[in-house]
């Protein structure tokens, strides 16, 4: 048996390869799902376990590893992260001092916002505006080479703004040590795709002496990691490669049913991709004794659009609520202003994902839907805010309606341009035929099975999730290891099959683009 595995030769060439692996490689960024991370986490773990009671040393150790993690993920942009951390750390201290003395803090808060937003706009919108100018005044008017967007830039920028605003609002005291603030921003499990953490909830964890993980925590962490891998690296990846991408590209014909299934497929894919990766992040942090907030709560079970935004990317929507919606005046400035604020918040939320018509349309759709729901709540006295308050007969059609609003919203979100949106909709309206079922089942059987399994998993009540968690907890150490190893094996097989099938392998989470 061993003869069939290629042996590893411990020669100088091996160390050269190890050395080259340790360097940043744009073609192979470090994520939580790479084999490299597994090995790195082991080495990191040794120091962490030894140091976890010595707060200062531990935090510096974690910060150094996080910075290295970010370097492996995004290269030289680690300096940008350091810059943002330093500037807001200093501004935060200044804001707190001025607050103590009863002086205005607006100017400093504005400075922080301007710096952070400028970074976001530079990396995300320059391409768009240069393209626009060149379209208007002829190509070549502006010379510009597009920049690679630093991974997770919007996540750390948002958290940094929140930190300064919280100090100005007096909800938190500024951190004394720069390394602690760097810790807050760069903590490696959530570095890349969140969840966004609230300074108020996270700072006590940074300062906590000794980290405690209970048996239940361990079971929950393993469940989150294994489940996250299944969602992120198997369902989302395979569904995307095997079905959604070819269906959107028109490789599966012009049928309406295919178009509709592609939209449903993408709806599941983006949820599995994003929530799967978030779950892994939460699980990894939990193993280290850090509790990150939940980012998703079965969002497609929502019965209203308001409920959807409380269950989807929770940490972002609550950020948008706390720092954008409330800063715009929230619901304190009259009814019309409330609607407008909702609309503006979602529009800006859409713009944050990318500068382009489709994202604006996506944000506008959700903004209008949220405002309409608010109107509905006021006009219809019996209307409910969330599904759990509804009767079943109301709840089911409400869930279906909400799901479709969201799903067609995703069409706007993922389409290359408005022409593709129009084309997909035209196919569904004009070209719809159930005769395609046969072709779907035979041509994309695996993808259809994945979709059924994915939606079925999503539809299970929360008690089942908790039951699985208790079961995994009871499995004990060996059982938990086996669960994770088997899932990793499945992921690797899936990767190889997809590579053989379509030449697609590896890749980043979809949300990495935002």
């Amino acid at each position: 048996m061993w003869s069939k595995m290629e042996t590893l030769k411990f020669d100088s060439a091996l160390w050269e390869r190890v050395a080259s692996l340790l360097e940043y490689d744009a073609a192979a960024p470090l994520t939580l799902t790479t084999g490299f991370f597994l090995f790195a986490f082991l080495i990191f773990g040794v120091g962490y376990v030894v140091l976890h009671r010595r707060v200062t040393l531990r935090n510096i150790y974690v910060v150094l590893f996080s910075l290295y993690f970010y370097y492996k993920l995004s290269g030289i942009y680690v300096l940008l992260l350091l810059f943002v951390a330093l500037s807001d750390y200093l501004i935060g201290r200044r804001v707190a001092r001025r607050r103590e003395r009863g002086r205005g803090t607006r100017g400093w808060v504005a400075l922080s916002v301007v710096i952070n937003v400028a970074i976001l706009v530079y990396f995300k919108a320059t391409d768009f505006f240069v393209g626009l100018v060149n379209d208007l005044y002829g190509s070549g008017t502006l010379q510009w080479e597009s920049v690679v967007v630093p991974a997770g830039v919007s996540f750390f920028v948002f958290q940094s703004i929140a930190y300064v605003v919280d100090i100005a609002r007096g909800t938190i005291a500024p951190l004394r040590r720069f390394t602690d603030y760097l810790f807050l921003l760069s903590f490696f499990p959530k570095m890349f795709l969140g969840p966004l953490v609230k300074a108020r909830e996270f700072i006590p964890q940074i300062e906590e002496r000794g980290k405690v993980v209970t048996s239940e925590d361990m079971g929950r962490a393993v469940t989150l990691i294994a489940g996250g891998l299944v969602k992120y690296a198997i369902i989302a990846k395979a569904l995307g490669v095997l079905f959604v991408a070819p269906a959107f590209d028109g490789e599966m014909g012009e049928g309406g049913l295919v178009a509709l299934m592609a939209i449903y497929g993408f709806t599941l894919q983006i949820y599995c991709d994003f929530s799967g990766y978030s779950d892994i992040a939460v699980g990894v942090a939990l193993m280290m004794g850090f509790r990150l907030p939940d980012n998703f709560d079965a969002p497609y079970k929502s019965a209203t659009i308001t409920e959807f935004w409380r269950r989807w990317h929770i940490s972002l929507s609550s950020w948008l609520r706390d720092y954008l919606y409330i800063s715009l005046g929230g619901n304190r400035r009259g009814r019309m202003r409330t609607y407008l604020n909702l609309f503006l918040t979602m529009l800006l939320g859409g713009l944050w994902h990318g500068v382009g018509l489709t994202f604006i349309a996506w944000g506008a759709l959700h903004g209008v839907a949220l405002a309409l729901h608010k109107v509905w709540l006021e006009v219809v006295p019996k209307a409910k805010r969330v599904g759990s308050e509804m009767k079943l007969a109301w709840r089911i059609p409400a869930v279906l309606l909400t799901f479709h609003v969201v799903a067609f919203g995703w069409l706007l979100f993922t389409a290359e341009d408005m022409a593709q949106v129009g084309d997909m909709l035209r196919r569904i309206v004009v070209n719809f035929s159930f005769a395609e079922i046969d072709a779907l089942v035979h041509g994309s059987g695996v993808a259809m099975v994945l979709m059924v399994v994915g939606y079925a998993m999503h539809a299970l009540p929360k008690s089942v999730d908790m039951g699985v968690q208790r079961m995994v907890t009871r499995l004990g150490f060996v059982g938990q290891c086996i669960v994770v190893v088997v899932v990793i094996w499945m992921v690797m097989q899936c990767d190889m099959m997809l590579a053989a099938e379509c030449g697609a392998g590896g890749g980043l989470p979809m949300y990495a683009a935002f």
Binding site: G35, F39, V212, V213, T214, M288
Partner: protein, 542 residues
């Protein structure tokens, strides 16, 4: 009681998972519910990869020794014997005809049918042969005559897993007929993924021509150009099964196994997991062929008794084209010097190669290197070696493919800077040895070159290896070149046929005219005779 803190467990947990995942490498490839599961290797990035500078072995050419070896080899065609009759002397070919392949005569294609479709730029094949009828033309002639042709496509990791070749095969078979995936090795010492065929094997010890040191002495000069050899005792088995990944691969009508055993052995061949037959393989060094004609979807070889060395099987059928993919990782082409010339010649006599493609060079480029005269000389030797092993085949050298590398300072990819230089050295080698040449880099350039391949998802992010989608584009371009040659040949023939037909028509017309003229003359004579006689007759009547 204070509850136990499980935090330190993250360390043991990670360690156990790593041990478990590394241990997964022990699970051999297997099939379940129609899906094939491969061996996983989490440490792959630490192992020497394809681009590793330290090639496993560097063979050098010894054409003189080759000549001697081939001279000592009996040139007599091996005799065919039917297994049912007592084999005496030992037959080279064991036949088992379950259902004779229907002899379908293929319709003659026209130049318009084979001409490349679309208006994509054709990167032509450059023929440097100086013969009156060049060997490449002979190959094209066979295609034009609608004869069976067999192509050996030798390459490195660039075509591993049947990248490029599967699409080339598909296009040629769809156009010119023929079925089946061609040659597939018996067992390979590492996991591979190939969607054009499902191969599962167990019980073999596999060796690679790239690692002669770990190959037993007795097998070192026994390699075929496939580069892999498998030795197995009773119980060793391999199953080759067709897939429906391509229209022409789902089933075939001929199967062969290439093997030999030093001492007499018994093997079992099983078709479609049902019909089976035992063969006694006479002990001899000569490569043997078990030749089966039957509708085949799955083909199994099992060693029952004794020790067998197996090269692989070939699934083929119908009249038309067979394309064999011979990819050997990390091979710059020099591995051909490590193959046994006698073995190559013996197998060539069984399979009959008409074209040998040499696709190499990706691994020898160094950033900015512009001189490759040593490699050019090696390539000349490779061509000479291939010519001697496959005397009836035309040789086609493919230029190196486009490759970009990362600038260590800026982190962005840029051209490696030696593709054009290496291509021109490869062309020079083809020129001086009078064989055909085709520039892969030029073909890739018509699609926008490597950055466009990566952007389109046709190549890996290493800017070096194309994937299946990229292989399809290169295969299309190569097929376009072959189709252009074939269309030109057919056009010439059609013009010739038309000229002959016109000539015939002209002769016929002349003949008719002559006949008319003569008939006219005869008629006048006849008329005058009748006229001359008639009055008399009339008079008589009167």
């Amino acid at each position: 009681m204070k509850e136990r803190n499980y935090m330190p467990r993250m360390l043991w947990f990670t360690l156990a998972v790593i041990v478990g995942v590394v241990g997964l490498g022990l699970i051999p490839p297997f099939e379940l519910w129609g899906m094939s599961f491969e061996r996983v290797d989490v440490l792959s990035e630490l192992r020497a990869d394809d681009n590793g500078e330290e090639a496993v072995v560097e063979y050098t050419a010894d054409i003189e020794r080759l000549e001697e070896e081939l001279a000592s080899m009996s040139e007599a065609k091996p005799e065919v014997d039917i297994v049912d009759s007592l084999p005496e002397p030992a037959p080279v070919r064991y036949e088992w005809i379950v259902q004779e392949e229907p002899m379908v005569k293929r319709r003659q294609l026209t130049s318009a049918e084979v001409a490349p479709v679309g208006d994509a730029t054709v990167v032509s094949i450059e023929d440097f042969d100086t013969l009156e009828v060049t060997r490449y033309e002979r190959f094209i002639d066979k295609l034009a005559d609608m004869q069976d042709v067999r192509i050996a496509f030798m390459g490195d990791s660039f075509v591993e897993g049947d990248i490029l070749t599967s699409d080339l095969r598909d296009e040629l078979q769809t156009l010119l007929g023929g079925r089946g995936v061609g040659f597939v090795a018996c067992d390979i010492p590492f996991a591979t993924v190939r969607k054009s065929v499902k191969r599962t094997s167990s019980g073999w010890t596999a060796y690679s021509v790239m690692k002669p040191k770990s190959t037993p002495e007795a097998l070192r000069d026994r390699y075929f150009i496939s580069g892999y050899i498998a030795e197995g005792r009773s119980g060793a088995t391999t199953r080759w099964a067709s897939t429906d990944a391509f229209a022409t691969l789902d089933s075939c009508s001929r199967g062969r196994v290439l093997l030999y055993s030093r001492d007499t052995s018994r093997v079992l061949v099983e078709l479609n997991d049902s019909l089976s037959r035992e063969f006694e393989i006479a002990g001899d060094d000569h490569v043997r062929e078990i030749y089966v004609e039957a509708p085949i979807e799955a083909f199994r070889l099992k060693v029952l008794e004794g020790s067998v060395v197996c090269y692989g099987a070939s699934l083929e059928g119908g009249r038309g084209v067979t394309v064999d993919n011979f990819s050997v990782r990390s091979n710059n082409g020099h591995a051909i010097f490590g193959t046994g010339a006698t073995i190559n010649r013996q197998i060539d006599q069984m399979l009959g190669y008409d074209l040998v493609v040499l696709q190499y060079g990706l691994n020898i480029m160094q950033p900015g290197q512009r001189a490759f005269s040593r490699y050019r000389d090696q390539l000349c030797d490779m061509i000479a070696y291939a010519e001697r092993c496959f005397p009836d085949a035309a040789i086609l050298v493919l230029g190196v493919s486009d490759r970009w590398i990362k600038n260590e300072e800026s982190g962005v990819y840029e051209p490696i800077g030696s593709v054009d230089a290496l291509t021109s050295y490869q062309r020079a080698a083809a020129d001086s040895t009078h064989v055909a040449f085709w520039s892969t880099a030029d073909a890739m350039a018509t699609y926008g070159g490597m950055p466009q391949f990566v952007a389109n998802g046709w190549a890996a992010k290493d800017y070096t290896h194309i994937n299946f989608a990229g292989g399809r584009r290169v295969a299309e371009a190569l097929a376009r070149a072959l189709r252009t040659s074939l269309a030109a040949e057919l056009q010439e023939r059609e013009a010739e046929a038309q000229r002959i037909a016109e000539e015939a028509r002209r002769r016929e017309a002349e003949r008719q005219m002559l006949i008319d003229r003569n008939m006219g003359a005869a008629a006048i004579v006849l008329d005058s005779i009748i006229e001359g006689v008639a009055p008399v007759a009339n008079e008589d009547v009167e």
